[in-house]
């Protein structure tokens, strides 16, 4: 058990370093929902569309998806080192309010370059892998399935690899099955396709 806990805490330290790239308001860990929103927006974008490398956009995500993920991170099921200390003290009303806030914002594409050839190839892989079956034909997501449309390329690429390699505990196991056998290049193409919407 001691080893297991140590494994969990070690990456946490790296995660805190990563978060320091965002200009976090000092008052983020107390107070009302407006302060919480401001705190989250420092990394995830004022309008919920992230401008920071590998940081996911939350704008336009299904409210249930955001609430469920925040809940699972607070619970310790989904282990995101950067998020663990942040969600730790969030109350139920915060989860609810944050979910509704970010769900209500319009999703916008990041300024990352999107490669037309990769988009075309990603579309073909998405068809084969039936992404739209859960994420909807326009990839806007629904309930527990996140929006993929207009998500950051670098974030999606990392997330897809984690699902494929089952290094993302707490995720839907169907994602691991649906990505089985894909190459890293396949996943980059999928990310470009999703971002292109």
């Amino acid at each position: 058990m001691t080893d297991a806990l140590a494994r969990w805490w070690r990456p946490l330290a790296f995660g805190l370093a990563a978060v320091s790239a965002c200009a976090l308001p000092a008052a983020g860990q107390g107070g009302d929902l407006a302060e919480k929103i401001q705190f989250c927006s420092a990394c995830h974008g004022d309008d919920g569309n992230s401008k920071i490398e590998k940081m996911p956009s939350l704008a336009g995500q299904p409210a249930f998806f955001i609430l469920n993920q925040l809940f699972l991170m607070r619970e310790g099921v989904r282990k995101v080192e950067a998020m663990a200390p942040i969600v730790k003290d969030l109350k139920d009303d915060h989860l609810d309010g944050l979910s509704k806030h970010f769900a209500s914002l319009p999703a916008k594409r990041s300024d990352e370059p999107v490669d037309a050839a990769l988009v075309k190839r990603g579309a073909e892989i998405a068809r084969q892998r039936r992404c739209s079956s859960c994420h909807m034909p326009n990839l806007s997501g629904s309930e527990q399935a996140p929006r993929l449309a207009k998500q950051r390329v670098d974030y999606l690429t990392t997330a897809l690899k984690e699902f494929r390699d089952t290094t993302r505990p707490g995720g839907d196991t169907a994602m691991s099955a649906n990505l089985a056998g894909t190459s890293d290049a396949d996943l980059v193409a999928l990310a470009h396709y999703c971002a292109s919407f």
């Binding site: 058990m1 099921v77 989860l95 707490g170």
Partner: protein
Amino acid sequence: MSISMSARSGLIAAGGFAFLISAAGPLAAQQQPTSSSAIPPMSAGRPGFSPIDQTKVELSKQDANLKGHPVPPTATPIDKLPVDKIKLPRGFKAEVWSSGHAGARTMVMGDKGTMFMGSRTIGRVYAITDKGDKREAKVILQGLTQPNGLAFRDGSLYVFAINKVYRYDKIEDNLDKLPEPVELTQAYDLPDTVHHNWKYVAFGPDGKMYVQVGSNCNICEINTGTHGQIRRYNADGTGMEIVARGVRNTVGFDWHPVTKELWFTDNGRDWAGNAGPEDELNRIPKNMEGANFGFPYCHANGIPDPDVKRPNPCAGVVMPAALTGPHSAGLGIKFYTGDMFPKQYKNVAFIARHGSWNREQKYGYDVVMAKVSGGKATISPFMQGLLNIEKNEFYGRPSYVFQMKDGSLLVSDENNGATYRISYGDAKTAAR
């Protein structure tokens, strides 16, 4: 969904008192994304193994937007539980036994009367203790990856998360501070795939631990030496044997009280039509251990798979003892051996049907009976009312069934985070 998130959110437990386990392995090395714009070649599957799902949604003629129902991370408040909607045969009664434990699924009882409950996405194991007129549910483990498999023997609780196995000794004496677990993950050496590998486990009459190993897809070729099985082990993880092959995904089994044969539910494939292939109730006949139950080539009562084909797909396949309905998702099964219910219920199997997602008209969301005769079974309704057929909506999702010492039956409801106690006869009900 029948219950709004805002109604639920008051019941979200912070779980701050819980004992935390890290189920995380070492983080895999992250490779940089390739930046080349050249179109790379189509990737191949793993050598000697084709995990790529062969589902063809367009050929199913089903609504392509069908998808799994989300499991709420929160429990329904006790006054909003759908217990009043439950319908039972004359003389039976349903009441709430426990509530407030989100994601309620598997149930096993310790020697000292503690009910242990496993879950999936929420990653918790609960201990539910009976305080006379009410039950208290407490989170004893959290942060596990889908700890659905629980078994209890000789004072120890065995916890099977996805491909992780722990044993907690003398657990009922230490519910406030769990002992360090004995990790048995390496000994059980389960395959590293995760889909359809949330576990169901149980000790058999032979004292062995029986373990589910699901198929890592909706429909695909599987290596029958690795996936799509029921296995048994010595309790310490040694002596593995395969007792059933070609099983898509069983998450419930029990042994017939008289014949001692293993009966198991099996969830049929999706995206092959609203009508089926139907889910199965299977029996492993005596001297047929290791038999093939058909996946992926042959489904239900001998339906060849439309996407994964071979000649004579059903040759040598053991046919089901009964079909249990299209996409109905039969999970828990328990043969009734109690004295509370009338005599005709003796040795009848109760099956919790979690309810369909891959079907336009919803189906299941109930508990049915399987009456066994000569190796076959007939299915009839028992607990109904959680599915509104006209509105095509559901109010609860029965997951597992458990027989209490007094002969009453508990049904867990994953959607509402509660259990219902089903009893028979006014006198015995009032005696509680």
